[in-house]
Amino acid sequence: MENLIIHTSPETPYFPRVNFNYETGVCEIIGESFMEETYKFYAPLMAWLEQYIAENKKVVFNIKLTYFNTSSSRSILDILDLLREYSEKGGDVEVFWYYDPNDPDMEDEVEDFRIESGLDLKLKTFK
């Protein structure tokens, strides 16, 4: 299984950078996410994760998004649901949500995801 890497570019600033590492199990989504037809972008990420967790490996999922639209938030919830299901089956999962402490709304947003997904999302501030 190969790493999943998606680079962002000035022409497509609405796609976040993605780095899912098969060897380490560290999976990161970084930047901003406000593309149209969000599911088309997130479907390969879900597929990669489904294949990866089928091998019963540890997942460290880092969400480092400074902005995401509500359409992206639905796809992010799908990822969190998948990770929760894996965790409930005994999978080793840690999810870290990085946020800007000066963003007046992000903590509430993460709290909502915590309630919806049932996952223990660990908050970390951007350095």
Binding site: N69, D103, D105, D108, D112
Partner: protein, 179 residues
Amino acid sequence: MKKKARPLPSMSRKFKNVIAYEGPFFIHILTVFSKYVKILTRDYPDASKKIYKIFFELTQNITYYSAEINEINQDNRTGVGKFSLDEDEKYYYFSTTNRVLKEHGEILKNRCNYINSLDSNNLRELKREQRILSQGEKLGAHIGLMQAALISNFALKVEIRKINREYSMYTLMVTLDKI
């Protein structure tokens, strides 16, 4: 508790326009304007972050749902409308306007009124419920209006103006504290 909405910018001479646009809402155009929105509001960092988020929620609603369509080819079509960011001493006012089917105007107005009737906790709960229930496919999560109301912490202001027997113009305005 949400605060009451302020009047629409067109109703007062005290408002000053910060930036406005009318035309097709292609994502590349919105991306360029979003950068200017950030720059033009940077004196008020909290408000600036909120406007940036609301900007995409409301403009992308026009992208998806406007009844007026701009079509370059089959794969490249988008909604047409306008947005305006205005300000006075204390507040920013972000508004979007687009054409809607007459019957959709009433639905949108009722939806906004319902959102305005809820306090923040109940609105967050509704947003969570809707997000889980939404299909999450082509048209997103259907929680953009709720998100805009939560971020602004003011009531949404809606104006429906009849154009003809079939269509209305739908204006939605969100108010934000500068500080």
